[in-house]
Symmetry: D3
Subunit: 67 residues, 6 copies
């Protein structure tokens, strides 16, 4: 009965999100024997000014370096 | 001192959300004796393409079956 | 497809947790029409020294007042 | 390797969020010795009708009292 | 800058958890181009009496059916 | 009405946790004007084998480098 929460920044495309859902569901099914119809995966796309990294919002961090 | 996070898809109406908040607060008060003024309930309404179930985004899942 | 996370301190009994699960599942079924077999509820019992309220850990808070 | 999730209502300004990120990162660095470049802080700004307190949505609660 | 939270019941072995971490990190690297050294994955192993499904704790649910 | 979840590995002392609670509550009070008696902070201490970083569990990561 897995629940998975994936939090990312910035947003992903619909196709990328579908692929992430498919692959993580497959991982949990193969490694732990979890039923896909009891596996829920929620993706949260976080605005860059709301994600802090290294002490600053991500957009400020990325303005000074390459991810 | 409960904190409750309710994650649903798709969105609910304002009235439905107020009722969910009232009922869960009442449950925690009756069953555990928790004070309502120390009980916080946060509802996250998740876009269907961000909620994976049975290996696919929920909107694709619902296109092929009935919830 | 709801996922609910209930965080409380201190711990609850097995019977209390079963009742909370039953009642919240019922609320989501009646108010939003959610299927119980797609409703997951996870209860986290948090140690009092790990839950801060009013600027202090809960056990210190409770030593000075009544919840 | 800390991960911090700050959930607030209502929304904050960009400057307020940057300050919160800077101060919490500093706290974890000073108190626990955590490296800022391994510290992630995600701020969720929750709509008032989605945050329940004292049994009602926050906007209804605030209409009857002062926070 | 992904953060992933995997919640499962019952517990997994150390080897299973290491494999889940490796595979999800690989998925996010391939699909979204995320750097592994900015990818954090936290696994929560939840006691069966704390995970409600279909209105009952998971251990009661499993006593009456097969997962 | 803030709720803050701090997830760290490995465990912290009681004194460190009390200081983190005090400082984050102070930050939210000064920066956002939040009332401490409506501010809840929950600290989760995660086992190192359950926290993945750079594709491996943290204890394996730390065996090969310095945090």
């Amino acid at each position: 009965m897995p629940y998975v929460n994936v939090r990312i920044t910035p947003a992903a495309t619909r196709e990328q999100k579908a692929q992430i859902i498919a692959e993580i569901t497959d991982t949990l099914s193969r490694v732990l024997g979890k039923r896909p119809d009891q596996t829920h995966i929620v993706i949260d796309e976080v605005d860059e000014q709301n994600w802090g990294f290294a002490g600053v919002p991500t957009d400020m961090y990325r303005a000074g370096t390459r991810e």
